[in-house]
């Protein structure tokens, strides 16, 4: 087994298996441990400069990745006009940079503020480190290997689909520069870490809040209807 086989076939499958199995176990059997573990109560000034840029940046970036994975044609059609391509690339780059700045703030805060250190575990540091690498390699890739939104659909869309459909094609990723390979490997590592860390809060999407009734009443007694 060569390195490519391990890094881009075996490891992704290990990550995916851990991600699915452990996440289900934790959400179903250990729901108390699922939390975003906010530390805003203990420290809020630096959190403001870290959390908001990071989350808003990374959400859009992930959304772009998802669009490229699910509907590559839409992306290619959008990029057909150069102006639109530049617009997408520039906004993607800025959002990535924004997220990077956020994660640097968060990392700095976690290492230096005593109140935050009191609620910091080793796995928190690992999560931040991998996230930092992810953001850094992502931003560098976007600036050094133009234009990501064009070649992504030719390389990563088929590669990720090959993984998901259980017909892995590591040869798609093998010839890429090491920086991009690191980005891929690192993100699979993050995926593996997700169910073991606070990252599991990524899966909480409280969107039903937008439509649910304001009040929730739960009782043991049989009741005609509870409003």
């Amino acid at each position: 087994m060569d390195w490519n086989q391990f890094l881009f076939v075996v490891f992704p499958y290990i990550s995916l298996t851990l991600f699915i199995a452990v996440t289900i176990y934790r959400v179903v059997y250990r729901p108390f441990t699922v939390s975003s573990l906010s530390s805003q109560l203990l420290e809020r000034k630096q959190l403001y400069w870290g959390s908001i840029p990071f989350h808003h940046g990374v959400l859009w970036i992930l959304l772009f990745h998802l669009v490229a994975l699910l509907t590559p044609k839409v992306l290619l059609l959008w990029n057909a006009v150069p102006l639109r391509l530049y617009l997408l690339e520039i906004s993607g780059f800025i959002l990535g940079l924004w997220a990077l700045v956020g994660v640097v703030f968060l990392f700095w805060r976690r290492l230096t503020v005593p109140y935050v250190k009191a609620v910091t575990t080793r796995i928190d540091i690992l999560v931040l480190l991998l996230t930092l690498i992810s953001m850094l390699t992502g931003v560098l890739t976007a600036s050094l290997y133009r234009f990501g939104s064009v070649w992504f659909t030719g390389v990563f869309t088929p590669y990720l689909w090959s993984i998901l459909t259980l017909q892995p094609c590591p040869e798609l990723v093998a010839p890429l520069p090491w920086l991009i390979q690191l980005h891929v490997f690192n993100n699979f590592a993050l995926l593996a870490l997700l169910p073991f860390s606070r990252l599991i809060h990524i899966l909480s999407w409280p969107l039903d809040y937008l439509i649910r009734p304001w009040q929730i009443v739960i009782g043991m007694r049989d009741r005609k209807a509870t409003k």
């Binding site: 975003s36 809040y209 937008l210 009040q215």
Partner: protein
Amino acid sequence: MDVRTHMSMIFHLDKCIGCHTCSVACKNLWTDRKGAEYMWWNNVETRPGTGFPTQWENQEHFRGGWERKKGKLDLKLHTRLEGIFKLFYNPSLPGLRDYYEPFTFDYQNLFNSPKKDVQPIAEPISMITGDPIDIETGPNWDDDLGGSNIYAKNDVNLEDLPQEVREQMNELERLVFNYLPRICNHCLNPACVAACPSGAIYKRDEDGVVLVNENDCRAWRMCVAACPYKKVYYNWNTGKSEKCILCFPRMETGQAPACAHSCVGRIRYMGVLLYDADQIPTAANVPDDELIAAHREMILDPFDPKVIAAAKENGIGDDWIESAQNSPAYKFVKEWEIALPLHPEFRTMVMMYYIPPLSPVVSVTEKSLFRLDLMQEDYDFELFDRLDAARLPIKYLANLFSAGDEGTIRTVLRKLLAVRIYMRRKTVHGKVDSVSRKTLAEAGLTEEQAIDMYKMTTLPTMEERFVFPNYHREMSIKAILDPLTHKGEVGLGYIQQPKRGE
């Protein structure tokens, strides 16, 4: 009519001596844990004062409760969409500084210190970081008006009082305070429930207790900000929100909540209130001066056959209805109308009620001097006719208990005073004269009511103060399940340790 039941607590503030036994009982039972050190599910504040957390009533700052916007009731904290966008950082969340940094003392140093020329000391250390700290504040830092020109002066409820009254309240001869014990109000229109993006907070149907399902809580912390009473707390260790549970495990076994049970002044009463859930949306959405009336309207008469029929239709058992008929809460809130909600203008429709205090010592002004040596009958009637002479300004009480409406407070205080005058005649003088009867009538009370109020205030037994219905928890168990399964589902002890996730 949608009749539902609620366990309600009454606080008789005239009887509160500010001993904090309730707070300590609660702390020992529920919040003596890592991450919960700073929480006081039950706390007692000195009023005037800034309370806990500091200035919690200032909703321009903390944005708790509900707000009427164009005739519609909305959270003051956020719209639903804003709520989603504020998940990552919640600007209205109180910080640890707004509470206090929990501390202990390094007692080990007293034993381990090397030999020195000076005595070793137990240095204060933070219970969060473990580092030595300078204690700058703590719970009840302004107890009994300690530092009142820093704390009491900043009481939000003093804001619309005339400047000279405010200044007088700072003069040594005029200093006046009362205590305000607070627990979660277990509201009918709770803002914490409405603000929770995860839908983890809910109201129990059978007794109205508002609970956090910590398995669903994801630490978005909106509940902490949305509660106008700041009675939901965030546990920084477990990453879950926590709040007063009204000691429901005790109530289900017929015991009063720890705070009420341990109350030295016996100021607390508990009982069932029947209310009409259909009226909640309308009653929460009336102008400020109609809030108290709408709130009282929503509480139903447990003797009314129509109410009883509707209650039975809703599956409420006979013993609960009977309990509601014997409830001291019903007497204070609805029959005598002397118990008022705390800050009804927050529009969460609280279900814990306060009987506002008569001033601690009655005094009158004479040639702009205060006289305390008046004949009793003189100052009794003096105050009854001129409540503005009360040492605690009526407006201040009105800001606390009736959304600024002084009329409501005057009515309540008149009733309390009339009973006091009437009973004094009866027990001290041995006979009731026409003047005190007239006073009683003017206050809107009959003699029987006055005697009932007197008995319930001064002489109640434990069974009269706490009237608990049978919860029938055994009925909620599915009889087809293995008894050993039930054993793991109810009772004491953790099924899983509440351990912090990574």
